[in-house]
């Protein structure tokens, strides 16, 4: 039971952080604070992916030590250039068979790292678009509080409706 909890404690903590981000998104009326909540949410998703990719006893996915030396020796050999096509092909096969037998060191899974690395950069780019939209909202409404914006929208809609009603009344009256 304790092992079960220890193995999943990380996920639960990350979900807690995620929920704090979600709460900020829901509860804050200030649009900038909402975007920061969204940022917290995004960071915790990145944390979750990276947690999943970790391997016990592993290290960062950069080949080192014996793993890399073998690969390098192999690379230099193949760059000799005087290999016949099938000779280099067989060298390739043997090298591949050798490596797929196993690596000297344990590495964490690199794939989630790649996905999250690009997600972070794309995240900041889309964040910039959100902020630009907020700046334009501020210039149009004079505020970035959602409830005030909603009130103003409502006022405008009511006024427009009243205008329309007046116009139709006037039109009916004259005809």
């Amino acid at each position: 039971m304790l092992e079960f909890i220890l193995e999943r404690g990380n996920y639960w903590a990350i979900i807690g952080l995620m929920m704090i981000g979600l709460y900020i998104c829901f509860a804050a009326t200030n649009l900038i604070k909402r975007l920061i909540g969204l940022g917290l949410f995004q960071t915790s998703i990145v944390l979750f992916y990276v947690s999943l990719s970790r391997v016990d006893g592993g290290t960062a996915p950069i080949l080192f030590g014996a793993d890399w030396k073998k690969a390098k020796g192999y690379g230099e050999e193949s760059h000799g250039g005087d290999h016949a096509a099938d000779a280099s092909a067989s060298a390739y096969d043997s090298a591949h068979a050798y490596t797929s037998g196993g690596l000297e060191n344990v590495y964490s899974n690199p794939l989630p790292h790649v996905l999250m690395l690009t997600a972070i950069v794309v995240g900041v780019a889309t964040l910039a678009v959100g902020l630009a939209t907020i700046v334009r909202i501020r210039e149009a409404y004079g505020t970035v509080e959602t409830d005030e914006i909603r009130e103003m929208d409502l006022d405008v809609a009511i006024a427009e409706a009243a205008d329309e009603a007046e116009e139709t009344q006037a039109a009916n009256g004259t005809v």
């Binding site: 092992e3 404690g9 990380n10 996920y11 639960w12 903590a13 979900i15 807690g16 952080l17 929920m19 704090i20 709460y23 900020i24 829901f26 509860a27 009326t29 200030n30 900038i32 604070k33 920061i36 940022g39 960071t43 990145v46 990276v50 999943l52 990719s53 970790r54 391997v55 592993g58 996915p61 950069i62 080949l63 080192f64 073998k70 690969a71 490596t99 690596l103 344990v106 590495y107 690199p110 794939l111 989630p112 790292h113 790649v114 690395l117 972070i120 950069v121 794309v122 995240g123 900041v124 780019a125 964040l127 910039a128 678009v129 902020l131 630009a132 700046v135 334009r136 501020r138 509080e145």
Partner: protein, 206 residues
């Protein structure tokens, strides 16, 4: 992180400490109203999560998070804050309770879902036995560069990365279209001044 006894315990301790700090910072962000403090705390949050990424072996992600989260996005938030407002209004009444209920319910569902997830650090989990490990084994013979993250990013998944770069570029374009070309843009002013008198003195736009 291999080779000596007690390494696992140290990492566990690091995990707990960093997660604790992350929680404190996140709750502070949720409770504060001064946007300046919130933006600075979000930068701190990014830096601490970058530290945690290092503990989780994701050095490239940590690097990106530290540069992007603490550098660029803080600068962008500050730049946007100057143009908008400096304090957030306090949440009131129903706006405090209702989101809390929704959030607790969502969190409970997600935690229920984690029961089926593989354990932390499980080398045999579905995520860690598929194509990701294949990349590590084949990268050194096929690409011959030691940083597997770069080889996956550039070569195996180069098409993905092309898409990401296109997204970044179009986001930049969208921001420029939203803000940049108008008569209120300083770039246009600087250009106009330069055209009017080529030798202007420094620090004019203050």
């Amino acid at each position: 992180m291999t080779g000596f006894e007690g390494a696992n315990f140290a990492i566990e301790l690091l995990n707990v400490t960093l997660l604790g700090i992350l929680f404190i910072v996140a709750i502070a962000i949720a409770r504060l109203r001064s946007l300046f403090a919130i933006v600075m705390l979000s930068g701190i949050y990014s830096l601490i999560s970058a530290t945690w990424f290092v503990a989780l072996d994701a050095v490239d992600v940590a690097f990106t998070e530290a540069a992007v989260g603490a550098g660029i996005s803080t600068a962008l938030f500050l730049a946007a804050m100057v143009l908008t407002s400096r304090t957030a209004k306090a949440e009131k009444g129903a706006m405090k309770i209702l989101p809390l209920l929704v959030v607790v319910a969502t969190g409970a569902v997600l935690i229920y879902a984690t029961i089926d997830l593989p354990g932390f650090g499980d080398a045999m989990s579905a995520a860690n036995t598929g194509v990701g490990m294949e990349y590590i084994e084949r990268s050194k013979t096929e690409i011959a560069i030691p940083n597997v993250v770069t080889s996956v990013l550039g070569s195996y998944r180069g098409f993905d990365t092309l898409g990401e770069v296109a997204v970044v570029f179009s986001a930049g374009l969208a921001v420029v279209l939203l803000l940049g070309f108008g008569e209120r843009s300083l770039g246009a002013t600087v250009r106009r001044e330069d055209r009017a008198e080529p030798k202007t003195k420094e620090g004019e736009g203050e």
